[in-house]
């Protein structure tokens, strides 16, 4: 029995729900964990802004001591044992844009189940809907992921992402439940892209695209613009 959106909302709000898969439960537990952490709720004193402006103004009056820019954030590490699995997309229908909300809600990955032949020689294939994040709310598309002898071919077709150039580009990633990221290709335009993964999609089913800068730093910028979950095609 597939989990309904209402089941997932109910579980997120703390109600007991039996229909969730262990992975869904773990992913929603992660969001619940973030909702219980004080860091999510604590606010700095309203006077902090003035204190910061004053502190910097004082530094400027005294002459700025020069410090080198700190290095880029550290690469995502292989998670320690016991790290929570990632949260997948929750819904199976496009998100409703709630009126009054500044950031558009991400659209929802939908499992695509295609009728396929019963040939035992049919290639192993996954598919997914990809949706824009709050950084790219208008983006959407789909992708198929097919097992080939040389790896997994990912055919991505998405609209709503601007063409990047001038040292900026898109990077696609696959990620497994343990949080290990594998890069699967870079591109400038998402309308028609073929990517490749040497990591098995059967284990690395979380897909994302980030905006990157060609500055020698290969790690994920964290600026996710497109996300999706690969589901097997039956």
């Amino acid at each position: 029995m597939s989990t309904s959106d209402d089941d997932r909302i109910a579980y997120l709000s703390g109600e007991p729900v039996d229909s969730l898969t262990p992975q869904e439960r773990a992913e929603l537990d992660e969001v619940r964990g973030l909702l219980t952490t004080p860091a999510t709720w604590e606010e700095p004193d309203s006077a902090l802004e003035d204190r910061i402006v004053s502190a910097i103004a004082e530094e400027a009056r005294r002459g700025r001591p020069v410090e080198s820019a700190p290095p880029a954030p550290a690469a995502p590490e292989a998670p320690k044992s016991g790290r929570e699995p990632w949260l997948r997309r929750l819904f199976r229908r496009p998100a409703i844009a709630f009126g009054g909300l500044a950031a558009a809600a991400a659209a929802i990955a939908v499992a695509i189940v295609l009728a396929a032949g019963s040939s035992s020689q049919a290639p192993l294939q996954f598919a997914m809907v990809v949706s824009g994040t709050s950084l790219a709310p208008g983006a959407h598309g789909s992708a198929t992921l097919t097992k080939m002898s040389s790896g997994w071919e990912i055919q991505l077709s998405a609209t709503g992402l601007p063409h990047l150039s001038g040292g900026r580009y898109y990077q696609a990633w696959l990620k497994n439940p343990a949080g290990i990221l594998v890069p699967v290709g870079t591109f400038n335009d998402a309308q028609r892209v073929i990517l490749w993964s040497g990591a098995p999609v059967t284990q690395f089913r979380s897909f994302s695209v980030t905006e990157q800068l060609a500055n020698g730093n290969p790690v994920s910028s964290g600026r996710r613009v497109l996300v999706g979950i690969a589901h097997p095609v039956h």
């Binding site: 959106d5 909302i9 109910a10 997120l12 709000s13 703390g14 992913e27 969001v31 973030l34 909702l35 219980t36 952490t37 004080p38 860091a39 999510t40 709720w41 604590e42 606010e43 700095p44 902090l48 802004e49 204190r51 910061i52 402006v53 910097i56 530094e59 020069v66 410090e67 080198s68 820019a69 700190p70 880029a72 954030p73 550290a74 995502p76 590490e77 320690k80 699995p85 997948r88 997309r89 929750l90 409703i96 709630f98 909300l101 500044a102 950031a103 809600a105 929802i108 949706s131 994040t133 709050s134 900026r168 089913r205 979380s206 800068l213 994920s220 910028s221 964290g222 600026r223 996300v227």
Partner: protein, 179 residues
């Protein structure tokens, strides 16, 4: 991509630009610091130090980079330094800290983990106030619907419907939080 003029003015120490950067990224910097330090006062101190450090280093900041990840990295480093200072002051050796303590350099939070806290904060901030209250009372304070209804002086049915709407909005907004 952030306004380059804003970043240039921040580099020059323009007070208005400092305020703009604080208003756009202050919550992120504070959330990162609080996640490390677990103390509001210390997190505020770390936030202030982080902005001052960022300003000092701003002349060498690559304008093509995004401010958010850079500020978050500075905040995390400042918070860890502050944690160590406080640990020494309290005669509380680092060795006595829990192995999973996020402040310890041996188990640093990743940039994505820091961003996740911020994204949840941003999502919660976009809820209507009455729904924010419900979510906070439920998750942070651990109250049941019945207890919340009593605290707020509303019917339990109202609490349940607000809770459902709030979590539906959150789930939609945070659907991209993890894949």
């Amino acid at each position: 991509m952030q306004d380059r003029d804003l970043r240039a003015r921040f580099r020059e120490g323009d007070p208005d630009a400092v305020r703009e950067v604080y208003r756009s990224h202050g919550q992120l910097v504070f959330a990162v610091a609080y996640k490390v330090l677990g103390d509001r006062g210390l997190a505020e101190e770390a936030t202030q130090q982080a902005f001052v450090k960022a300003w000092r280093a701003a002349q060498s900041f690559d304008e093509q980079r995004e401010l958010g990840p850079w500020l978050a990295a500075i905040s995390r480093r400042v918070a860890i330094d502050l944690y160590r200072r406080e640990a020494v002051r309290a005669a509380d050796p680092l060795e006595s800290a829990a192995a999973g303590d996020s402040a310890l350099a041996s188990s640093p939070e990743s940039a994505e983990a820091m961003y996740d806290v911020w994204e949840v904060r941003e999502a919660v901030a976009q809820l209507p106030p009455e729904e924010q209250d419900i979510v906070r009372l439920q998750h942070l304070d651990g109250f049941t619907h019945a207890q919340i209804a009593e605290r707020l002086g509303v019917a339990i049915g109202t609490v349940k419907s607000r809770s459902f709407r709030a979590h539906k909005r959150l789930a939609a907004m945070l659907g991209h939080l993890r894949e």
